[in-house]
Amino acid sequence: MAPIASSGAPSSKEKKYDRQLRLWGANGQNRLEQAHIALFGATATGCEVMKNLILPGIGRFTVIDDKLVEEADLGVNFFLDQDNLGQPRADRAATLLGELNPDVAGGFRIDSLENILSNTPGLLDPRTTEFTHLLLMSPVPTPLLFRLPTEIPTFFVHSLGFITSLRIHTPTHTIIETHPDSLVDLRLFNPWPELLELALERTSTLDVPESEGGMSDHQHGHVPYVLLLLKYLEDWKQSHEGHLPGSYSEKALFKSMVMDGMRTNVPGGSEENYVEAVRAVMGDLRTAQLFNGTKEVLNDPKCQNITSQTDEFWIIARAVKDFADSNNGLLPLSGAMPDMKAESHGYVALQNIYRAKAHSDAAAVEGIVRGHMNRVQHPKRNQIDRDTIQLFCRHANFLRRLNYRSIADEFSHCNEEHKRAVLTALGDWDAEGSLIHDYIALRAYQEFYTSHGRAPGDTGHESCEDEYREIRRIICQYLKDVGYTEGVPERCEKVAKEIVRAGGGELHVTASIAGGIVAQEMIKIITRQYVPINNTVIFDGIASRTQTFEL
């Protein structure tokens, strides 16, 4: 889509998507529009997810399903209808979903995952596939999960009665626009010369009464608090052998030093800019620090060995690391500044200092990026994307990198990290109500389906004691495999009963909740904005709560 115009009335597309563009902007929207989602299984849950992706405007979708519309579908799936009983679900669901948004191209294929993997594997071969993301609805026999391409982001969903889960696998996922609450970085302990100069210049007559040629009350009450703090920090350093107020008690002393500078013989008895300054002491006065997400990115091996194949993200990350290494460990400045009590021109002047520094830091990073790209003869060396570098620098302390365990590893029976994750969750102090039990029960469901070819409880009987005993046996075996020796926890048993109760059937409300949760996570992965889960989230519709595990 066209970039959001900085002036003038919005286009019709901007009007339609206004409420979401305020979240992910043109950047995110462009990425959505390049996505082609393959839905395996036109179940109620699958169609609900697709609805929530088609409405915001993904590029394309393909519904893959080999069943016919049955009466029972009509009580649970909004995107199948009475007029098409006995017709292929894939066709009808694609049509009804397609009506949601004329800008999205929809298609269908009367086929199954198993058949595709065996007979037309090119459809899912990363080198030839048209699909950018795979959305799989349970049940899927476990052996098929092992045959999925690990290069294509995959979302695997269970939706049984009141319980639903989502498992994500994607190649290493990197995020620049994580949308933290604030990008503000004031650098009060590390001011650069221009900032300090402005602070000292604007505060030179701060303590002089107006009658002696100093500031009027109006001027005094409108010195931006950032400049006040920088000035008082300089005073503090002079009386503390060059040290900054680092400890809590020093900060408390520093606070009262600032308060002493406030004029109190003014209307209201206090000055708002001083109040703001004092309020910022505990939070904003600190040495610049790398957050964990950024540390992980900058220490990733991909940053070390740049080649002509290296993705742009990692080259910029390397350049930012180089920048920080030669800049006392300081990252490029974000340039963001909060609103504060000040006169317009004073505020804008200060803002310009921050923006200019952010700009020159980004330019320096761009220079380093160019150097690396030329050195390795990178194919994109003549089309360096300045906007991305600036965006990267602005978010330099909020980056994220997520490495996902493969689904094959999760089901391999011998992955030690997976076992450890399960054991840890079972051993937590509040494990009793933990949804790890729901995971274990769902996993037993998966195994039951794989060996029996049908869901436990999928019978006409009201009592399903035999089926439950079989599920419980599978749970015992799995607990033994992971090394858990304390018998089957009560919650495992109860959730297993609840799953047998559903008999493989969906409830529309759960399908719809899953549709929302899964679509949110897919949007985060597709737009590369916000932070998705890694790697499993479970929703318990009985108590209305979720829990996330890395399994």
Binding site: I4, K15, R19, G57, R501, H508, I513, A543
Partner: protein, 419 residues
């Protein structure tokens, strides 16, 4: 045909006919199945949440659904209000949503009402088993909440109507179950809303610093200066364009960057970002609770869930506590500290700023005198001089003030405590 013997409801019926391990001891699989067949429910709002709620209820076996909405369909609804198409723009939401769901799901009756909830009386609300709200207005929520609390008659268990409420913003949302008079009500939790921090008028008038300051200057100060009493219509593109141009000019004068048409619209309409997926989660959570309340198939939410999807997925599910001094469901007047030197006008201004009060045009009385009346004109004239008087000259320490406001179907009781 009932739920129990229709092949269409195979999966729902299977759940209802088998007793779950988390369900109440006395869950009766035979009796519960018929509950859905005769549960008449009301949906308030047919927008982002409402569309989802109607679909969810219809596909959860509810047969008799009513929906109220006073809005018409706008182009910016189409990214999430999935029952509407471009050709529906301008039509009433309630009507279009109701007929769409009825045409897709056979056997459900949805009765739309295109209008305000305040048009209906307690007799109307008494006919429903439960009420689900998908609203974006604090005022409407307070109204229905207070109405349902007021309807509770201890001698008639049928008069207690569970209220299920949902709301979203971006990737976040919340759903909750309110049992009027028994559990925390909407009013009890009003202080959880983030207070609207208004920018001081003098900042707008003389020292703007942010692009939003320029937009607010144009809409709050410049529009009335140029157009007098003519009301600014934030849905009128010509009005928005005018505000945008004024704001842009002012921003340029002060070297402020960042005024765009989109920002202008966002500020004057107070736009909250909204997406289909979050609405789906919250609406379905509300309907999940409705299904559990109606059938007893599993225990229902006690009583509040927050969903936060910005960073990973995080839910906080907890019991929000009932407030003894809640002006709606509590039985005590709230203590309120007052400087005896304040004028009545200052007192009213401060009340308006309090997040747990949120009033716009209050009328104030005590047992012994009329403090201030918004209307009728003769009473307003008679009480207007009180605005200048000091609190200590109008009320005694410990005296109760009753406050009414057009937005509230109840009166707020405050105990004045002099500081």
């Amino acid at each position: 045909m009932t739920i129990a013997d229709s092949p269409k409801w195979k999966y729902l019926n299977r759940i209802l006919s088998r007793k779950g391990p988390f369900a109440d001891e006395d869950y009766d699989t035979e009796m519960q199945k018929t509950f859905l067949d005769d549960s008449k429910v009301l949906v308030i709002g047919a927008g982002g949440l409402g569309c989802e709620i109607l679909k969810n209820l219809a596909l959860s076996g509810f047969k008799d659904i009513h929906v109220i909405d006073m809005d018409t369909i706008d182009v910016s609804n189409l990214n999430r209000q999935f029952l509407f198409r471009a050709s529906d723009i301008g039509k009433p939401k309630a009507t279009v949503a109701a007929s769409f769901v009825m045409s897709r799901v056979k056997g459900v009756t949805i009765t739309p009402y295109y209008g305000a909830i305040q048009d209906k009386d307690q007799d109307y609300y008494m006919q429903f088993k439960l009420v689900i709200c998908g609203l974006d207005s604090v005022e409407a929520r307070r109204w229905i909440n207070a109405t349902l609390v007021d309807m509770v008659d201890n001698n008639n268990p049928e008069s207690l109507k569970p209220l299920i409420d949902g709301g979203t913003e971006g990737f976040k949302g919340q759903s909750r179950v309110i049992l009027p008079t028994l559990t925390s009500c909407y009013e009890c939790s009003l202080d959880m809303l983030t207070p609207q921090t208004a920018v001081p008028i003098c900042t707008l008038a003389t020292i703007p610093r942010q692009p939003a300051h320029c937009v607010e200057w144009a809409s709050m100060l410049e529009w009335p200066r140029v157009f007098g009493d003519r009301k600014l219509d934030d849905d009128n593109p010509e009005h928005v364009q005018w505000i945008y141009e004024q704001a842009l000019e002012r921003a340029q004068e002060f070297n402020i960057s960042g005024v765009t048409y989109s920002l202008t619209q966002g500020v004057i309409k107070n736009i909250i970002p909204a997406i289909a997926s979050t609405n789906a989660i919250i609406a379905a959570s509300c309907c999940n609770e409705a299904l559990k309340i109606a059938t007893g198939a599993n225990p229902y939410l006690n009583n509040y869930m927050m969903y936060i999807g910005n960073e990973g997925v995080y839910t906080h599910t907890f019991e929000h506590e009932k407030k003894d001094d809640c002006p709606v469901c509590g039985n005590l007047a709230t203590d309120y500290t007052v400087d005896p030197e304040w004028t009545l006008e200052e007192f009213i201004e401060r009340l308006k700023e309090k997040p747990e009060v949120q009033i716009k045009k209050p009328t104030l009385v005590t047992e012994r005198r009329k403090l201030y009346y918004q209307g009728p004109p003769q009473l307003n004239e008679q009480t207007r001089p009180n605005l200048e008087k000091k609190m200590k000259d109008l009320v005694d320490n410990g005296e109760e003030i009753a406050i009414t406001d057009p937005g509230l179907p109840f009166s707020l009781r405050l105990n004045v405590i002099f500081s």
